[in-house]
Symmetry: C2
Subunit: 347 residues, 2 copies
């Protein structure tokens, strides 16, 4: 029996007290009231349980997903707000909430951590929270925001040494990062309709231009939302790699770069399965996320990506098993260890 | 006999004197030497002829393209350099060169104008050059840069009234605009591998979010590079339109928004032809452009997009005639008029 592991889920349905706390924090930055303390946020287990049970978990059951790699809400990370201390307090709260969900539903949710990034602040500052989430919360991966400015892109490219303190820890803990931006505060970029996809494309091209995996041969990134524009323009990227005198994409990037399946229609998934090797594709839906409606053309949720994979004519059953389970276990070894322990096998 | 009209070609092979002039202009901005005058650039017809004949025209003949809508080199527009006067001098020179090419090879090249945009400067300032190109050069369209900052995205979205002076002239002259950025000076964004595609996705989402075509029902835009990420994520965009309470994409955008075929591999073109109605697809290659190499998988140029269209199993001969010729004549009425005059028919 193949497990169906969704490698990309956010806690988008947290109880409203979370947002209320954040509003107080933001007000305090502006000098309006005292900075709230973490312990002033009290969300009882019952509320947490209900927030997940009636939303993500209900949908997972309906769609036949077994497990979600669950991280704090991406658009709420909003690393552009305040300074490092603000991000640190906010990340700690969100990571703890996600951990508690994973404790309430240990068979269904496994934590992925957000980082307390802040514009212009040395990423080394994120290491303590990263390690806390690995050590105390059993997190199996992180989300890394390549643009903590929220749409102004002032940080160096991901291949720059600026980011190496994070990469060193990723290698040490043997965890991958999903490259995931947050809310856009640039009016040119709609958050989920432009900024997210642009960030995916941008990250892929940064990795293509550089030689990061020479320095970190085991570093692994997941590019969400089906890789932004990359698979649709695979020929362009193959051609650009050639112009830049890089090796073939398969050799240059595909031991280290993976794509999720958050592509919300059949032809998109078919394209992804056509151009990207199966071992580089990880099942995901980002449910409940950016696109919550029902597609009138199919009668099903746009983000019910399992249906597209099940219907994709190019994929064999073995391919689907790789996409649903085995690739995730390979890319997230800490997830594999956890599952192996549960299954009573050695990791 | 169907004409094969490439709606997206730039003069990327201009004689080196052009770049030398530009270097002097840029040096003068920095206080190094006097600002060069336009008449100091002298490129004889023979040099122009050769620059095109051995490059674009040779490839057009080899690939069976009849006609290219030809505009100044996109990456050289570099609207972020200097002020309006700098852009005005540079646009005038480039538009004249493209016009001269169209005079030397009237059966093969038709001018499309660049605009003298400059960051933060009222787009109304571009109207005189736009009208000069229409009136004196017989241009049939324009390229509009949604980000004259070159990767910092400081201008308002394309749906903002800021841009209306351009749109009013487009309607008056009945010309479309290709939305095309220029060089990225943001190190996060590789020019042709990220900035171009991001701009396409961004522009599409801006148009989706807004209601611009209520104010300008006949305004027409071409989104180049196959629409960036839009067709690959068509389900996402349909779903976002639904969340934003917009009409179906077909009703909301597809009378006004068109995609070119600059997608450099077969699966990408197949996807485009699957999700975007044929009447919204215009043939293009952007040859000679960003990706100049030969694809080792096919033995042909990556940008030889005609091969992918000819091989696309979804397209009928009538579809191909629409994509190669009829859509371009409909979207560019001034091109149609010119061709009709040449063909001895009434436009």
């Amino acid at each position: 029996m193949t497990l169906v592991i969704d490698c990309h889920g956010h806690f988008t349905t947290a109880p409203p007290a979370l947002e209320a706390w954040r509003r107080r924090q933001i007000a305090a930055i502006g000098g309006d009231g005292a900075m709230p303390r973490a312990r002033e946020l009290a969300i009882p287990d019952d509320e947490l349980r209900q927030a997940v049970e009636t939303n993500q978990l209900a949908q997972m059951r309906a769609r036949g997903h077994d497990l979600t790699l669950f991280s704090p809400r991406a658009s709420f990370m909003a690393h552009h707000i305040g300074d490092f201390e603000v991000s640190a307090a906010w990340a700690a709260i969100n990571n703890e909430l996600v951990y508690r969900v994973s404790q309430l539903f240990p068979d269904h949710f496994v934590p992925v951590a957000m980082l307390p990034q802040s514009p212009g602040v040395d990423p080394a500052s994120c290491v303590p929270e990263l390690e806390r989430c690995m050590r105390d919360y059993g997190a199996v991966g992180i989300n890394l925001n390549p643009d903590p400015s929220g749409g102004h892109w002032r940080e160096p490219p991901l291949t720059d040494r600026w980011w190496y303190p994070i990469y060193e820890k990723m290698v040490e803990w043997d965890i991958p990062a999903m490259i995931h931006v947050s809310t856009s505060c640039n009016p040119c970029f709609h958050t989920t309709g432009a900024h997210y996809l642009n960030a995916d494309t941008t990250a892929f091209m940064q990795l293509l231009q550089g030689d990061l995996f020479r320095d970190f041969p085991t570093l692994r990134f997941i590019i969400p939302h089906g890789g932004g524009a990359a698979p649709y323009h695979w020929g362009r990227f193959r051609g650009l790699a050639q112009e830049l005198k890089k090796p073939l994409l398969a050799d240059h990037l595909l031991s280290n770069v993976f794509f999720d399946t958050c592509v919300y229609h059949q032809p998109g998934i078919d394209l992804l399965a056509t151009v990207v090797p199966v071992r580089n594709v990880l099942f995901a839906s980002e449910m409940i996320g950016a696109v919550r409606g029902i597609d009138p053309q199919t009668g099903h949720h746009y983000d019910d990506t399992r249906r597209y994979l099940d219907a994709c004519p190019r994929l064999t059953d073995a391919d689907r098993a790789a996409i649903y389970e085995h690739n995730a276990r390979r890319v997230f070894p800490r997830l594999h260890a956890r599952l192996a322990a549960r299954e009573g096998t050695m990791p």
